[in-house]
Symmetry: D3
Subunit: 159 residues, 6 copies
């Protein structure tokens, strides 16, 4: 059975040594969603023009959250991202919003955690802005969709 | 239809004015989970003794994440929490880990976002530590379970 | 001549002792502006609908900047703000944007620095987003317009 | 008319993709000033020896502010600066203090925002330390004076 | 034997519940020192006028470090300090510098960690500024000297 | 006599210019300890299984503290570390705990401050968790044990 890389031979947590890995182009895409009542979703989508841009604020929170990843995740390597975009689109079938984050860097380790943190922060921000209307919203489906670059190679989730 | 409290009459985002609210005892409990393959869960639960305490690291990350809530969520009020606990328990039925966070404060606004951020950070931290073994883990079920204190009163989610 | 309160009798910097001051309602309003070419301003105001909401992003940056005040200003007391709003309005006479920030708290010290930091951060954020079009923009007129609450009482700037 | 680089084709804010830009030597110089009454300036300049080093504290705040740039400015890329210096000199003609910040890095994007943030933070820090003596001080003239390195080349402001 | 308060009945780390404690005046004083060669100390003390104010920079770092305590120490409660002062005095008998930090707040928990973090940060900052001259400096004697306020009452260290 | 590198010719603090230094492999090892009564040490070592893992929490705090070094130490260059490990071992002869931190990066400047900050943060965290049992614990012996890489070459402390 494989070992957990974030712990040494004695089971002590450490930040994995990536000193000897090459700095290469890295990409990660993560996704997630927040479900809510249909009326709540309508309030968000109809309100964008005059009542407040929930999606715009959540997108920005997601982008800024990316830059806090190494601060939040204890054993995560700090690294300067070179591109971040976060999209949130309404989905009446949920009903709710679907979020996707794309993050790039040139570095010695990947940006999976940055993309997942962006999605997670964007969805929490939606919850915060809408919670006075509906407390029962639920965040789910947060997962890595794509990862490219680095020694472990490409990973693509099943659809 | 209700308006979104985080935007003013012109639709501009603002931090809601809680200046005139009383500072009262507040409590929030949030929950969520991460699903994984059974072998991955076994690696986490069996490894605790000698191979590394994934759950202990995630719990601590959740507690520290609570203190970063106002930094992550743009329109969230900063407030000094007075108690935080985070629990993660293995659930072979998922299979995966279930996380619960309990946060208290005495303040002019609630701690729902702090509890949700704690759960979210703890689960992202599990993903980080275990991702080399299984990239397909998924985080879900993040929701508020209980909220007490404040003018809007008690909220309890359906089980 | 008065002494500088932020230094002790020996001239050493310290964080002023406010332990014995009452926690009262405090308000501060600050303002500032950024000047640019008329075409640049048009790009910002016309672009809001489809090309990107510069003003919305700057407003949010200002609100979030408020929460970082004690982190940026060495001798500033940390305090939890209870209300923040930031407005940016186009002024073709400048030409440019005028920013105003209103901050409230209930505390032992005022929120002047929080309001000034909000204005300053919002205007720097405008510069960042528009700099590829015009590097010669200039930020100015950053000042306190109003302060209320606390022992030193009300201050209102000349118009 | 040019587009705003910080928004994509749909007008959504994003962190500009610099992944394919070369990491080259970058330099930026920014300036600004704070105006005050002549007596207030005298208090600062005469006080340096025994009454407190306002300029020394502001300089340090400016240097430390540089390191928080990507945290403050939402769409700004994080990058490790390799040199920062901040100067504040009294100018009796203002009367007030003139601040200049010089920042360098080797990176895929420039350090204009870092230099502007350093100047802005240093001047806000002066305001904080002296505000008990004069609330009417005003911060202005914050602009980029020089930028070198990178594909967009050298920029020098008119004097 | 007493139990460790920072762990619950199951041995899980948590942030101790202080929700029901009264908000009272709290004071803590901590101390520590850094030892170095006599020539290095001379360089610091003689240099203050023209060659750079090591002590002034370290004092400011200590004050700012106080505000980061809850960010650094995982289970520490966040609380807004109301007064911080840090002193560093040369001691030719060490030889080296002796640091003392005094911190106050009105809160539900004490400020011992804030005072210890201030001392520790100030001494690390001295090391940073002087390390090119002497790498063998050593930091020691970091301890709580005095604590007052709160249910556990006054504590004073033996001299 | 050598000059202090962190101050310019006029004695002004600055962040040393490392722009022209090569990015090479850097390593630093730092150490320190905390002394306490024998019973307190026993409480920590015996308690690990069921009563709470003081050493595990302190180790994680040390690792996370490494990432905050440039935020804490005013003139320290920010740099992305590539490996961090922190060890704490009980020493009944002190009695107390001995901490060692090892930090690596590939960069233009060394990681001595990162290693020293890791040790210091880990030991402060032990103090925090155990202070309700013994307030008289003392932190000492914080020093650089080894440094390798960079123009100034290898440094090894006397044992």
């Amino acid at each position: 059975m494989p070992d957990l890389t974030h712990f040494d031979a004695e089971g002590h947590a450490h930040m994995v040594d990536v000193s000897d890995k090459a700095a290469t182009a890295r990409l990660a895409v993560a996704e997630g969603h927040i479900t809510m009542r249909r009326e709540t979703l309508d309030l968000i989508t109809e309100g964008r023009a005059e009542k407040g841009d929930v999606i715009g604020v959540a997108r920005l929170a997601g982008i800024m959250g990316t830059k806090k990843t190494a601060d939040l995740i204890p054993l995560c390597h700090p690294l300067p991202v070179t591109n971040v975009s976060v999209d949130l689109v309404p989905d009446t079938a949920l009903p709710g919003l679907r979020a996707t984050a794309t993050v790039k860097t040139t570095g010695q380790t990947g940006v999976e955690m940055e993309a997942l943190t962006a999605v997670s922060t964007a969805l929490l921000t939606v919850y915060d802005m809408v919670k006075a209307v509906e407390r029962g919203m639920e965040i789910g489906g947060i997962r890595l969709r794509l990862k490219a670059g680095g020694k472990s190679g490409r990973y693509e989730a099943a659809p």
